[in-house]
Amino acid sequence: MQKALNKRKYVISMIFIIAGVIFVLRLFWLQIVDRSYYFSANNNVLRHITQYPARGLIYDRGGELLVYNEATYDLMVIPRQARNFDTLELCGLIGIDYETFRERMKKIREYSLYRPSVFEKQISKEAYGFLEEKLYKFPGFYVQPRTLRKYVRPIAAHTMGYVGEVSPRICEVNPYYKPGDYIGISGIEKSYEEALRGIKGSRIIMVDVFNRDQGSFQDGKYDTIAVMGKNLYASLDMKLQEYGELLMTNKRGSVVAIEPESGEILALVTSPGYDPNLLVGRVRSYNYNILAKDSLKPLFNRALQAQYPPGSTFKLVHALIGLEEGVLNLQTRYGCAMGYSSGPIHVGCHAHAGPLDLIQSIAQSCNAYYCNVFRTILDNRSLPNQAAGYAKWREMTCSLGFGSAFDSDIPNLVSGFIPKNEYFDNIYGKNRWRFLTIVSLSIGQGEILTTPLQLANLAATIANRGYYCTPHIIRAVGKQDDRQEKFQQKHSIPISRRHFETVVEGMYQVVEAGTAHYYKMDSIPICGKTGTAQNPHGKDHSIFIAFAPKDNPKIAISVIVENAGFGATWAAPIAFLMIEKYLMKEIKRKDVETRMIEGNLLSN
């Protein structure tokens, strides 16, 4: 019996060994075959913390700060780890109700259980103070520092543009962006996004079961340092910009001022505008909706995107082309009988002495004179027909920056419109149109459309006596003195310098004794040209372009005041004040200034 029983040792040994083998097999599965435990372990302890670099700052041309960053905090959550905590306490800390909490958590869980999601955006500094102390009670939650844009002064909103959360579509296309990241959406913020955003860094830390920081993973071997965004040095003159916005109070329109020599934009005023601080942070979409619904369209960037017939300012273009083509000279005189008449066609003019020579025709802005000039350009004997004459005219006009958008650093520029021959062919039939068909182009009306920026560029080109640099808003990126190469290039106009000198003299006379002499300043020799853009929907738009001083000009400007009537009444004095502000730093004629600021044309 005992002999049989001692065999049972082997049965029992087998049981022990089988148990051991089962354990070994199980361990083989857990530790070698199934890699998911390895990843889960990393998920438990490793936190990839994105280091968001500060966005680059923006300075004006005098080195004054325009845009900076303000710290804010996002409350992040990793749903997988968010367990066993007092939900109501958390709700209380961030000021939401339980229902909101549940809905958010549900959405976040659907996105990912393991990846961090933003639970509450942009917690204020004060709220963050409370939260930080109690954060250890909420496993799975942590705080991610972020920055928000702040604007020193409530100016140049359209130019600056705004920053907002990146759209899912961009995230798909560009792997740099993750949901919740910020990106420049319009203005400079958009066009200089890559310079401004810097380079995101990443830090891997280890946390314990309570989500407390336990230090860098492998001594920071895999960490990357965030690189701060580059600062931008804008060509804007903050004081001039601010003054322009003040002058345009309660008016629709725009002011564009350019330093002629460099193409640097000094002021880019669109009115009505808005405070750029409105489109920052949590209130952005709310305020955006309000602005978008406003009937005055404050979001519309008139300076860059509005297109107007240039009116009489375009007579300068005709004069330049006529002179260059040799169909016009200083002594050319045309009579004016309250306008230009040919058969059934009549283009009216105002009362003035006559006949006028070229300089006087600019000074008095005679419509009949320019009907004749435009006709002679189309009739140019060296060309086979009027269509060829028109094509030549169009080519030269476009060389002045019209009919296409500048390759500039401001997004969403529009091109304006200088019709091609085909355009008229389509309307009237090939060879079925001639000068009289398009006579309104002579005085800058009809099909032609230009933008305020293009008109300011025309003034700058004439001020330069024959070239322009692409108007741009940022002089330097990163270092203040590193001027952007691509904007240094001079675009030469195929019109000789002496013809420009002639037109400059005409523009000088506009202010000295012509259509704009009423607000003439003695201190600065200004060259200008009035214009009136016909407006089928209401009162005409007042236009004035100018540059000053006459020799060695420092500022070229275009002013458009919508529904203000004749160019000399509103646009010209505003341009004069801007020039005075920029060149003299202070305004002598306070009465003019007051009248301009107080003028309310919104109801026109």
Partner: protein
């Protein structure tokens, strides 16, 4: 005296002692790693668990020496007396015990918490050995079985009264001893079948199982001679088994509380609840699984160091081994245990006295049960039952009890040639 002592040290089984020391020291290292904190980085820091464990180890070695110098006849002679003392301490703990995490199973001895249930295993082992080695005792006798089960059952009931289910379950290990001493092998097989049926009853709808059992009964019926006696016993067997399934199902749904149900559901994979009962096991598996082949290295484990694994120095100490020493370390540990168990069986079989042999089997069985449930729990093969891993887990009471238990046996073995 001197001569005798030398004799003992010459005769003790150094392999067993060696494995014992290896496990104890490896355990100490892993406790150090599991609760490591940088402010107290000395393994000898007495304010930390690793420092305390060092004391327990030193005390254990002292206890081992004392036992080795004890006359082995004492264990036989005092077996029932020790058993009586143990039962008394289990009674006492019900009144003066202090409660730790739900179980009222500790007596505070001024700084040291004594757990009488740990020592009860030794007492029961001695008592069974004594009882079954008596002359004229045969396992086949119903009386023997009843008295033996009574010896085991009494402390089990007292421990269950302390709400320490884990410790109480350990005593089922003695079935192995009884099997060795002549209890029918069917007991093991039936026991195994009952467990399988039990788990099936929880996992599968009871009517499916009962229908399946009926099918087996029908097939069986077609194979047997159709006399009345066989039919009746087959029918009886079927009803018994079906009744068992039904009552397990009933007990599960109507008797067990939610807490227990959850644990069982998680164990059999019916429920994946990573927040509640499944959390510990899941974190434990993550820690072990993340160790991969060679482990993260000593003190490099993140899961245990940063407290993702609960009870990491006591019941879940195997996680630290798995994480820091990897598959290689885990398998070596398991191998060491299995070698120890089989070594003990071999030593037991070479004993001339039935008392020593039975006691030896008891030692191996109790150790094996702890090993099986503890490691099984950490790798998700056994329910979460809080019992320590012998020699490795942190804790004075359990280390003392395991040491005393083992060294009594080593002492008996050292004397085997003298006792005739």
């Amino acid at each position: 005296m001197v001569r005798e002592e030398r004799n003992i040290f010459k005769n003790i089984d150094w392999i067993t002692v060696g494995i014992y020391l290896l496990l104890v020291l490896f355990g100490w290292m892993n406790i150090y790693a599991a609760v490591f904190n940088e402010q107290h980085d000395s393994i000898f820091d007495l304010s930390q668990r690793y420092g305390k464990q060092m004391i327990w180890i030193l005390v254990s070695i002292l206890l081992a020496l004392i036992i080795l110098m004890t006359e082995p006849k004492v264990f036989n002679a005092f077996a029932f007396f020790i058993y009586g003392l143990s039962i008394l301490s289990l009674f006492l703990v019900l009144f003066i015990g202090k409660e730790v995490s739900g179980s009222k199973s500790w007596i505070d001895l001024g700084g040291f918490d004594l757990q009488p249930s740990e020592f009860a295993k030794i007492a029961v082992n001695l008592a069974i050995a004594r009882h079954l080695s008596s002359l004229n005792i045969r396992m086949e006798d119903l009386r023997t079985r009843i008295t033996t089960f009574f010896l085991i059952g009494l402390p089990v009931i007292l421990i269950l009264l302390q709400d320490d289910t884990g410790s109480a379950l350990v005593f089922t290990a003695f079935i192995i001893v009884l099997y060795r001493e002549g209890l029918s092998g069917n007991v093991l097989i039936i026991g195994g079948l009952v467990i399988i049926l039990f788990i099936l009853a929880l996992m599968v709808d009871k009517w499916i199982i009962i229908a399946f059992l009926a099918l087996i009964a029908l097939i069986w019926f077609s194979q047997i001679r159709k006399n009345r006696r066989d039919i009746v016993s087959l029918l009886g067997l079927f009803l018994l088994v079906a009744g068992f399934v039904y009552s397990v199902d009933f007990a599960f749904h109507h008797v067990l509380d939610v807490h227990h149900k959850e644990r069982i559901n998680v164990l059999i994979g019916k429920e994946v609840d990573l927040k509640g009962a499944g959390y510990n096991v899941n974190q434990s598996k993550i820690a072990i699984g993340s160790g991969r082949i060679i482990g993260k290295g000593f003190l490099q484990g993140t899961q245990t160091k940063y407290n993702f694994v609960p009870e990491q120095s006591t019941d879940f100490i195997f996680c630290t081994i798995g994480e820091e020493w990897g598959f290689i370390g885990s398998v070596l540990t398991i191998a060491l245990f299995i070698i120890l168990f089989i070594r003990i069986l071999n030593i037991a079989e070479r004993q001339r006295s039935a008392f020593s042999r039975i006691y030896g089997y008891g030692v191996a069985s109790v150790f094996f049960f702890h090993f099986l449930v503890n490691i099984g729990m950490t790798i998700g093969l056994a329910p979460v039952i809080g019992i320590p891993l012998p020699f490795i887990s942190y804790g004075g009471s359990s280390l003392f009890a395991f040491t005393i238990m083992l060294f009594i046996f080593i002492r008996m073995d050292a004397n085997r040639l003298q006792l005739l």
